[in-house]
C-alpha cells in the first residue's frame, strides 16, 4: 500500500524538529560576499574616499548611479585627491546589486554592505543621496527610517571589495592590498581568501 506509506511519512514528520528560522526575530548568517545596499567609505582620518571620477556611474549596467565631481576646496578638502564626489546618488529601484561599481572604483570608495531590508513606501526614498550613503563619523552605515537591520549587521561593509582585490589570489597571500577604513582600521582578509580558496568555498 503506497498510500499508507505516504501517510506514515507525514505522520513521522510531525515529530521531527522544525527547520524554520523565525525571521525577523532571528536571522540566518548571510554569505560572506552578500550584495546589499551600498555605503560610501571614508579614510581613518575622516576624509572621503570618493574622488568623483564617475567610473562607477560609467560601468553601472543599470545606469542607476549619478555622480558629479567638484574640485576640493583648498582650505577644507573633502577627499585627499584633487576632486571629490560632490553629488552622489544611487537609485535603488534600478540597482541590480551586481557590484560592478565596487570593482570599478579606483579608491574603494563605494562598497556594498549586507543590509538588504529596505522597503520604501515612495519613490523619493528609493534614491539614496550622498547624505544617506556616506558612512557616519564612526564608520557605520546610516540607518534610514525604513530600513530594518539590527545588531552588527552593518559591520560587514566591504567584503566583496576585499574578496576581489589582488590578495584574493594565492600569490598575494598575506599581503594587504586595501586601504584602512574609518572606524574599522585595517580590515582582515575574508576567510575564504588564500591558497585554499576555491570558487565554491
Amino acid at each position: 500500500m503506497g498510500m499508507a506509506k505516504g501517510f506514515g511519512v507525514t505522520w513521522r514528520q510531525m515529530f521531527r524538529p522544525r527547520l524554520t528560522t523565525e525571521y525577523p526575530d532571528a536571522k540566518r548568517p548571510k554569505p560572506e560576499r552578500f550584495h546589499g545596499r551600498h555605503v560610501l567609505n571614508r579614510y581613518e582620518d575622516g576624509m572621503e574616499k570618493c574622488i568623483g571620477c564617475e567610473l562607477c556611474a560609467g560601468v553601472c549596467p543599470a545606469k542607476c548611479i549619478y555622480v558629479r565631481g567638484a574640485d576640493n576646496p583648498p582650505d577644507a578638502p573633502v577627499s585627499p585627491g584633487e576632486r571629490y564626489g560632490f553629488v552622489y546618488e544611487i537609485n535603488y529601484l534600478r540597482c541590480i546589486h551586481c557590484d560592478l561599481c565596487v570593482e570599478a572604483c579606483p579608491t574603494e570608495a563605494i562598497t556594498e554592505t549586507k543590509l538588504f531590508e529596505f522597503s520604501f513606501t515612495n519613490r523619493e526614498d528609493a534614491i539614496y543621496t550622498k547624505a544617506e550613503l556616506l558612512v557616519d563619523d564612526d564608520g557605520r552605515a546610516r540607518r534610514q527610517p525604513w530600513e530594518l537591520w539590527m545588531g552588527d549587521e552593518d559591520d560587514h561593509t566591504s567584503a566583496w571589495m576585499r574578496a576581489t582585490s589582488p590578495s584574493g589570489d594565492a600569490e598575494f597571500e598575506g599581503r594587504i592590498a586595501w586601504s584602512n577604513e574609518l572606524g574599522f582600521g585595517e580590515r582582515p582578509a575574508e576567510p575564504a581568501q588564500g591558497p585554499k580558496a576555491s570558487p565554491d568555498a
Binding site: 498510500m3 505516504g6 501517510f7 511519512v9 507525514t10 505522520w11 514528520q13 510531525m14 521531527r16 524538529p17 522544525r18 527547520l19 524554520t20 523565525e22
Partner: protein, 401 residues
Amino acid sequence: MSAILAGDPLLSHGIDFEVVLIVIAKTVVVFALLLVLVMFYIWFMRKVIADMQNRIGPNNAGPWGILQTLADGIKFFFKEQSIPDTADRTVFRLAPYLSVVPAFLAFSIVPIGGKVSILGHQTYLQLADPPIGVLFLLMMSGIGLYGVMLAGWASGSKYPLLGSVRASAQLLSYEAAFGLSVVAVLLHAGTLSTRGIANAQAWTSWHSFVTDWYWSIAIVSFVIFVIAAIAETDHPPFDLVEAEQELVGGFHTEYTGIRFAIFFLAGFMNVITMSAIAVTLFLGGPSGPALGFLPKTGVVNVWLMPIFWFFSKLMVLLFGTVWIRASLPRLRYDQLMDLGWKWLIELAFLAVMVTAVVVVARDQGWERWIAVPAAFGGAILVLGLLRLCMPKADEAVSEVA
C-alpha cells in the same frame, strides 16, 4: 403540521414567544459556532500541515497564531473587489452567497448535543430536526453546486468556466455514490431524521463503539461516504476544481476581496459540515460514555458530555482531513472519474443490497449465518458480472479512435 416541520419536542406544544426566542438564540449560536469552527479549522489545518512539513506555521497573531484567520479575514474586507468587464454582474455578486448559505443550512441539522431543557422547554441541541433530515443534506449539497457553477459562468472568462464545468461533473459523479452510501445507514436506522439516526447509535456500553455505531456495521458505506464527501467538498486530493497548474484558481479566478473569502469560507464550512454529518451518521453523533460518578440528570452529563463527545469525534475527523490534505497528491481527471463511476457507485450499490438483506433478515428473524453470507455472495457475483461487462480502458480508447 409541526410533526412535518420538525421532530424537536420544542415545537410540538404550539409556538409562543419563548419558543421563538429559543429558536432565534439557537440560530445565532449555531451560526457563530460554525464561523468560529471555520476560523479554528483553518488555523488548525495550517498548524498541522506546518508540523508535517517541519515548519512552525502561523505564530504571530494571538497565542500560537490562533487569530491568524481573523487577521486574514479582516484584511479581505479592506481589499479592492474587481468585477471583470465581461462578467454578468448580478450573478457574479450573487454566486458567493449561493455557495455559503447552503453550507450553513446543512450544518443546521447536525445534532451537537443531547436533549436539554431551556426555560422549561425540552429541546434538542441542534438547530433543526426535520424528519427529512438526510434528504435535506443532499439537497443542500446539490444547491451548493449552483454557487460554484454560476460563479464560473458569470465570470465571463475561460478558466473559471472550465473550473466550474469540472466542479459540476465531479459533484454529479460523486453525488450518486454519496447518496447511496448514506442509504445503508438509513436502512439500518429506519429513519431520515439526523436525531433519529444519532439515537439509534445510542451508547449502552463500551461495545457500542463497534456493535451500535454504523461505522463498523456499515464499514463499506463509511469508507465510500468519506471518499465521496471529500470529493464533494473539493478537498484534496479531489481539488481538481481549483487545480492551479491547469486552471489558475478554477471557478474563483476572477474573484477578489471579501467575495473570494466567502468562497473559501463556504469551502471550509463544507468540510466541517461533512465531517459533522459523518460523525452523526457513522460515529454515533453526540453519544458516548457518560461520567458515571456524576448524577445522570446533572448538567455535566446532560449538557456537557454529549457536546464533548461530538466535538471530540469531529476533531478526529477534521484531523483526518488535514492529514489527507498533507499526504495525498491530486488525482488526474480520468482517475477521478474511474474511481467515482467504476468503483464507488458500484460498491455503494452492492453495500446497499447487502444492508437491505441484513436488515430484512434482522426484522424477519431469518437465520443470520445463512442470510448474510448469501447476501455477500450475491454481491460479489454481481460485482464480477459488472466487471466482465465493463470495457477495458484500452478498448474504450480504440473505440474512440
